[in-house]
């Protein structure tokens, strides 16, 4: 269980988050959506301990303010938006950095081969010997995901769920790899872990998320199952344009279609 209460963040005079409550359960993908500048990434950063904010965040019942970096790293891993790598690492070396916190799994025997398994999982078999600098943006994104997966390889450890925080995990990816990555997140959740993802793509969110929190101007606008949150009214109000929601077979999930003519209201 991830529970954030009363999160407020101010940068100078501007308020980025105002009294946000957020919960996510293990076994599910919880998506955070909202327009640019709504505070999605800031909320994620507060909950991962990267930036300070008012309010409190509890991860599996522990206040993250009281956890050491290592303890945090063993409970959750964070995939940031694209970042640069300072030195010429090979893909294998970079993915292996995920083992830094040292508790990927209790099974020490296959620890050594986790990097290759993670690479295979994100569709980068045989990329171990390539230099990270030589990869495309999408490949790099998946290398980073492999590193993050290595850090908390077992979704459940000692009876506790572990957490995957993803900040726009599919933004640099083509449609095929978007589905691969979202499927990885879903599998992680199905195996007992928790997934919190900041998402831009509302349709992927509708397809994969179990719960959705919609942010607007630093506040929670709606919260619930995708079908409850991703409605014409809530989205149009929040994003400032006319959006039409349909349902698609076979599952009947919501499908959001932007209207080229309609600027709200």
């Amino acid at each position: 269980m991830l529970k954030a209460t009363g999160i407020s963040v101010r940068f100078g005079a501007s308020t980025v988050l105002e009294g946000v409550d957020f919960t996510a359960s293990a076994g599910q993908i919880t998506a955070i959506v909202g327009p640019n500048g709504s505070g999605k990434t800031t909320l994620l950063k507060v909950m991962t301990g990267e930036i300070p904010g008012q309010g409190s965040t509890h991860l599996n019942g522990s206040d993250i303010a009281a956890l050491s970096p290592v303890d945090m790293a063993r409970k959750r891993a964070v995939l940031p938006q694209a970042g640069n790598v300072a030195f010429p690492f090979t893909v294998l070396e970079l993915v292996r950095l995920g083992l830094t916190s040292g508790l990927a799994t209790n099974d020490a025997d296959h620890l050594d081969h986790l990097p290759e398994r993670a690479l295979s999982r994100v569709g980068l078999d045989g990329f171990g010997g390539r230099y990270v600098q030589d990869l495309s943006g999408g490949e790099r994104q998946r290398v980073q995901l492999a590193r993050v997966l290595v850090q908390i390889w077992e979704p459940m450890l000692d009876g506790e769920p572990r957490w995957l925080f993803l900040d726009e995990p599919v933004s640099a990816l083509d449609i095929g790899h978007q589905l691969i990555v979202m499927q990885i997140a879903r599998d992680y959740a199905r195996a007992g872990g928790g997934v919190v993802a900041v998402m831009h793509d509302l349709n992927l969110t509708a397809m994969f998320a179990d719960r959705v929190t919609l942010l607007g101007e630093g506040r929670v606008r709606a919260e619930g199952r995708p079908a409850e949150v991703l409605t014409d009214h809530a989205l149009s109000a929040c994003y400032g344009c006319v959006l039409r929601t349909n349902t698609l077979p076979p599952a009947g999930g919501p499908w959001i279609l932007p209207q080229a003519t309609g600027i709200h209201p």
């Binding site: 950063k45 991962t48 301990g49 990267e50 050491s68 970096p69 290592v70 303890d71 945090m72 790293a73 063993r74 891993a77 964070v78 940031p80 970042g83 640069n84 790598v85 300072a86 030195f87 010429p88 690492f89 090979t90 893909v91 294998l92 070396e93 970079l94 950095l97 995920g98 830094t100 916190s101 040292g102 045989g126 171990g128 010997g129 390539r130 230099y131 600098q133 030589d134 850090q151």
Partner: protein, 362 residues
């Protein structure tokens, strides 16, 4: 030791694409052997080529007879020089690697945190203003005043910079870099002001100090500075994991379980101590701190857990070789070692850069 532990593992490791650790371990064994060899050469070869080395070594141990001159050359001149060159070379190379890891920039060097400027100011002040010290203090510090002042100056400027760059428990590396430039200008000005007061002889001393030398190495200096450098060298490997993680940026390193603030503090203090102590004994020696880590990264990859020990070995080897050259090439006089490292290091570095242009510019 290193070579032995290498053999324990035995067997051919499975070839694993992208894994350069086996290569790094092999390199470490090779460098260790080479270091031993270079140390022997350093001890056995010098301007006084008629020295009976083995007899002189044995004489102090009561195993052989040798002239006082030979004993002095081996035990009081070459040995402290050898140990100093090895320690200082190792410390400069490791400090360079740590700084580059900390600043996430392959061109960073200890100068960025003000060690060199501060140490320079200390040394200049001691050379020029030493005469104004109260007699009692001057007698106490004696010949070691310059070393002591250089260490103090280097250390003090790092602490000042660190304080400036730290706010609310967070040290901004960028602020440190910029404040370092400002502090560098200020210490430069102070240094210039003191230099302006210097007389002719002092000016010459200052010039030579800036070019570095292992010639003034004595056991007394080693006893003072050696333990500081040794402590820093021992502490450095504990930074390796953190520096590796830091390659991905501070937030990512924190997410991976690194206490980034603690890492920065220890890294900065380690560098300040080891470089301060090194510069104090040998004056300014450039290039080792940049060339050695860079070279190793090309051969064995950027992982600090293998980079730091190898940098120590290669730094020691390079400085020993530079020292051997500096004291034999114009014998019986000798070249300042900084000239040798820059003369050899400059073109070599350029060659490496040009050869690896593709990787660097991608």
């Amino acid at each position: 030791m290193v070579a032995l532990s290498q053999m324990d593992e035995g067997g051919a490791p499975a070839i694993r694409p992208g894994d350069r650790r086996a290569r790094a371990r092999g390199l470490r064994a090779g460098l260790a052997v080479l270091l031993g060899f270079v140390m022997l050469v350093s001890l056995g070869w010098g301007a006084a080529d008629d020295t009976r080395v083995l007899a002189a070594i044995g004489a102090r141990l009561g195993l052989a007879e040798a002239s006082l001159r030979d004993i002095t050359i081996i035990w009081d001149i070459r040995m402290p020089r050898m140990v100093t060159a090895a320690l200082v070379g190792a410390s400069l190379a490791v400090a360079g690697a740590v700084m580059q890891g900390l600043f996430r920039n392959p061109l960073a060097d200890p100068g960025l945190v003000g060690v060199s400027a501060g140490a320079g100011l200390g040394a200049v002040a001691a050379i020029v203003l030493g005469g104004f010290l109260p007699a009692a203090l001057a007698a106490f510090t004696g010949a070691y005043l310059v070393s002591f002042a250089a260490f103090l100056g280097g250390w003090a400027s790092v602490i000042v910079l660190y304080r400036i760059a730290t706010r609310g428990g967070h040290t901004s590396v960028a602020t440190m870099l910029l404040a370092g430039i400002a502090l560098g200008a200020l210490t430069g000005a102070l240094t210039g002001f003191i230099v302006y007061r210097a007389n002719d002889d002092q000016l010459r001393d200052l010039t030579f100090w800036g070019m570095g030398s292992v010639a003034g190495a004595t056991w007394a200096k080693l006893v003072a500075a050696g333990p500081i450098i040794a402590c820093a060298l021992v502490a450095a490997p504990f930074l390796a994991r953190g520096l590796d993680a830091l390659s991905l940026g501070e937030p990512v390193a924190a997410h991976m379980g690194i206490h980034v603030q603690k890492l920065k503090r220890i890294a900065v203090l380690t560098v300040a101590a080891s470089v301060g102590a090194s510069v104090a004994i040998t004056g300014g020696i450039g290039f080792v701190g940049i060339v050695v880590p860079h070279l190793l990264r090309l051969v064995q990859g950027p992982e600090h857990r293998t980079l730091l020990p190898n940098a120590a070995l290669l730094g020691a080897i390079l400085l020993l070789i530079a020292d051997i050259i500096s004291r034999t090439v114009v014998a019986p006089a000798e070249l300042p070692i900084g000239i040798v490292t820059a003369t050899l290091g400059g073109p070599f570095f350029l060659w490496i850069l040009l050869r690896n242009r593709a990787i660097l510019e991608s």
